[in-house]
């Protein structure tokens, strides 16, 4: 049955959608960039973002009652990325990381924007899924350890352990990538 968009109901609905679009604009970076860091692929990240916002629309009343959009969005984004990630290729080992051959004194300064993004994404792939989620939320998104624990459904002690391991692995990756020894 076709549904036309005429009349007062349609106007209400269009107003509702316009309001929801404003909500999406407010939180779209949080969702898309978190998904991008967790998945490493912009198309997958867009798919997850779409699903996150559709779920947000269906649960608006509940989320508004919680009065904490970011907490809900982080939790759902991480869960959906986890579902997608299970079907994806496994993490890469730090030892398998290609070295950047550069004659510059500081190779980091010679990287283009795309290369820097690639370094970030590859370093994240060197982490386990849980380590990656913990590091992305804590170090990149700036959540507190407690907020990360709630988003991941873990204890703070577990999250601290995951974060410390992730930081050490990331350092190993970056040093190997730039063939630097600090």
């Amino acid at each position: 049955m076709a549904q036309t968009m005429d009349g007062p109901n349609a106007r209400t609905r269009l107003g509702e959608l316009a309001g929801f679009e404003a909500v999406m604009r407010q939180h779209e970076r949080l969702v898309l960039v978190t998904a991008l860091r967790l998945l490493g692929n912009i198309e997958d990240a867009k798919d997850v973002s779409q699903e996150v916002f559709l779920r947000l629309y269906r649960n608006l009343g509940k989320v508004e009652a919680e009065k904490n959009y970011p907490a809900w969005l982080y939790r759902v984004t991480v869960n959906l990325c986890h579902d997608v990630g299970r079907k994806r290729r496994p993490s890469i080992a730090v030892e398998d990381v290609p070295e950047l051959v550069s004659g510059a004194a500081d190779p980091q300064q010679t990287l283009t924007g795309a290369e820097r993004q690639r370094v970030l994404q590859m370093s994240l792939r060197a982490l386990s899924e849980k380590e990656r989620a913990a590091l992305v939320l804590r170090d990149l998104e700036g959540l507190s350890t407690g907020e990360v624990a709630r988003a991941l459904g873990s204890s703070e002690a577990t999250v601290r352990s995951q974060i410390s391991k992730a930081r050490v692995k990331m350092r190993d990756f970056v040093e190997r990538y730039f063939r630097r020894r600090v």
Partner: protein, 186 residues
């Protein structure tokens, strides 16, 4: 305690995740250990790099694409809900029909235990009929012309080989309907 034992705390310290007292202990160790100084320096450097890259803007087209896809999906949603509603309505109608068919009178077994025939006494016409115990499948059929549904039924005890007589009383004490049926109610 060797440096491996310090690694976790140094990593937490690099990101500002240690309590002040623990942080001071790490600082004291790092001040005396060249290897841990390198570890801390590398941790800080890599964190600075990834945070910097993470903060770089993402193309606006990606956000616009997500928004457009979500809004398009939501605009399509009502029509989809209506399709589901039609499906549910049809299923509900079918269920009601099935229940109605299942509960048709011929499927119902009516048991009267020593029926006192209250309506009979009201009409005063059948006071001579004794209370009867009836247990069988009944298929009531209204005789045309009565105009109103029967108020009650009373019947003789079942005789296996003989036709059964059902007497239907109406609101009008002068109108009594007799229904002679076969032993199977036909």
């Amino acid at each position: 305690m060797n440096c491996v034992d310090w690694e976790e705390r140094i990593a937490l310290y690099a990101g500002g995740d240690l309590a002040p007292a623990e942080g001071q202990a790490v600082e004291r160790h790092v001040a005396e250990c060249a290897g841990c100084q390198m570890l801390l320096s590398g941790l800080r450097e890599s964190l600075r790099l990834v945070r910097e890259v993470h903060g770089e803007p993402v193309e606006a087209a990606h956000f616009a694409a997500v928004r457009a896809r979500v809004l398009a999906e939501l605009e399509r949603a009502p029509a989809r809900r209506w399709r589901f509603a039609w499906g549910f309505a049809m299923a509900a109608a079918a269920a009601v029909l099935l229940i109605a068919m299942w509960q048709r009178p011929e499927r119902k077994t009516v048991t009267h235990a020593l029926v006192p025939a209250p309506v009979v006494s009201r009409g005063g016409v059948d006071a001579d009929l004794p209370p009867a115990r009836v247990s069988r499948t009944v298929r009531p059929r209204h005789k045309a012309g009565s105009g109103r549904p029967p108020r009650t039924m009373a019947s003789a005890p079942p005789e296996p080989a003989e036709p059964m007589v059902v007497k239907l009383l109406t609101n009008d004490p002068d109108v009594v309907i007799y229904w002679i049926t076969g032993t199977k109610g036909e």
